[in-house]
Symmetry: C2
Subunit: 330 residues, 2 copies
Amino acid sequence: MTLEEVARRAGVSPSTVSRILNGTARVREGKRKAVERAIADLDYHPNVMARGLAGGRSMSVGVITQDIASPFFNEALKGIEDSLARAGYAPLFVSGHWNASKETERMALLVARRVDGIIVLTGMIDDATLLTHAQRMPIVVTGRSLQGPGLFSISLANEQAGYDATRHLIELGHTRIAHIAGPEITADARDRLAGYRRALTEAGLPVDERLIAFGDFHETGGLLAINHLLESRLNFTGLFAANDQMAYGARLALYRKGIRVPEDVSLIGFDDLPSSLYTTPPLTSVRQPAYDLGKIAGEAMLRLIQGQPIPVTDLPLQIIVRESTLRRRG
Amino acid sequence: MTLEEVARRAGVSPSTVSRILNGTARVREGKRKAVERAIADLDYHPNVMARGLAGGRSMSVGVITQDIASPFFNEALKGIEDSLARAGYAPLFVSGHWNASKETERMALLVARRVDGIIVLTGMIDDATLLTHAQRMPIVVTGRSLQGPGLFSISLANEQAGYDATRHLIELGHTRIAHIAGPEITADARDRLAGYRRALTEAGLPVDERLIAFGDFHETGGLLAINHLLESRLNFTGLFAANDQMAYGARLALYRKGIRVPEDVSLIGFDDLPSSLYTTPPLTSVRQPAYDLGKIAGEAMLRLIQGQPIPVTDLPLQIIVRESTLRRRG
DNA sequence: CTGTTAGCGCTTTCAT
DNA sequence: ATGAAAGCGCTAACAG
């Protein structure tokens, strides 16, 4: 089934069919009807590649994640898929594996595929490279605030959220609060750590550097960090992990040592992954609206492609209090 | 940068460049060198769409999952991405949302995008439809065993694994074993349930239908199922959940009632999600090699496209014993 | 409003 | 072994 056959069957020219398909120009009602019937009769679906070649658009947008199998990114991907699908665009997912050079390579792959735009979910690529790419095609990037033509960034208030999380523990009476930070190279991790420091300082509490451990944003990282803290015989009653996965690992490490959550240690995570509702005990966490983030990124991309202005949307981070944090005893 | 410019720069015809790019024919060493230099100098990347239009191949394969954000599917997607990327193919992911009609619709979308093949991860589409599609393009389907030209299926021994899981509990001395099954419409769920029944029967234990609850393969389903069982005042010391997510929900429900795992109830899941290593206690589960499954599916697709024979590979399901199951006391 | 005419960048006969 | 030429299916000026 080709557009030409549709045209023949409807008794019009190919251009007319194209116009109707794309809404490029007004067409007389009669012809439109005829074409629509022909399309239905023939079960015609435009060839996306031919369209792309001729029109210069591929109807696909590239999405760079760090790890396609990470629960946090996944929620975002779902949001992206949903928003893009509505406009007939298909997402092309690639993983950067937390590696700047691999990420650059994947980006080249997307460019070769002539994607109409690229959404970068918390990438490691530097700002300058991004800005350069933005000159050739629309870019939406999350996790940093960047200004530039053809580029839209969605940043979340990580510092403030890190502050709030720590503050939550302080308000529960905790004074010895440890922090498992994420990799120092990621801006998110640095901001959350900065928030932690500010909350402590503002409350007049000392910042004990030995209470700060670094993890890899995975469960193992949390586990190792806690084991390390415990071996150093440092005590603490509050613990703020820079993401939920590390909180899970930390929780297991505590369980192994017979330290109870929340009775002995209050634990707060970050991300509020869907699974955090079902840990034992259910985890208190800073909710990052991952799905919404993806959806907004997708919609922004669509607007960018069409040259429309993008409305500013607020993505509030909020603390979801569950059962892993408790007022300090005594 | 187009192929023509490369040809001009290398002093050859476009066809020659094309031949070198695709390895379609032997080309004299001198010209090949010249072309390769031109490609490097110009940083040329073939236009995938033009290629697709002319050659009839899109260098992309469609992947239908039920839920792009489910941890199990995700591991598989990662495997698919890895195997496909090596051959220059890109996966196009779509979600069927456990809904047969939506799945059919998504399939049509993939066909319209002229994918070179479709991988169906445990879909709900009926066998006949799949066989029909297989006549037009390569299909790889997991979770069922189906024979046909242009079609390759990878099935896992779900019944046997269900049997093994139940058997594990029986061997630990449990006689009252409950089962949280998945949706009856899915073959996986039915098979696991059948294995559960067989293990009980073979061991001479009665199959108490009241001890079988159905869930939706999500955490909520497990939680609800256990609440239901508990309200009916049925007692049991062993529990087999048809997937890990439902096991998580069940574990929380038990925690809420003050029933300890594994001291009071031994719990075994299915899938062995990465996160099951970090639950409290770490979950005993039947390991489904999701990543390998994806990888094998991707490789099979590549072979199918190239008309090569597909080697039979065995995907063993095995029980990973952790700390959520224990010998029955007393 | 609508048809005609060029391509988009590449692959693939068909000659040579 | 290699070049010339004819499309793949569609969009986008350009004329009416």
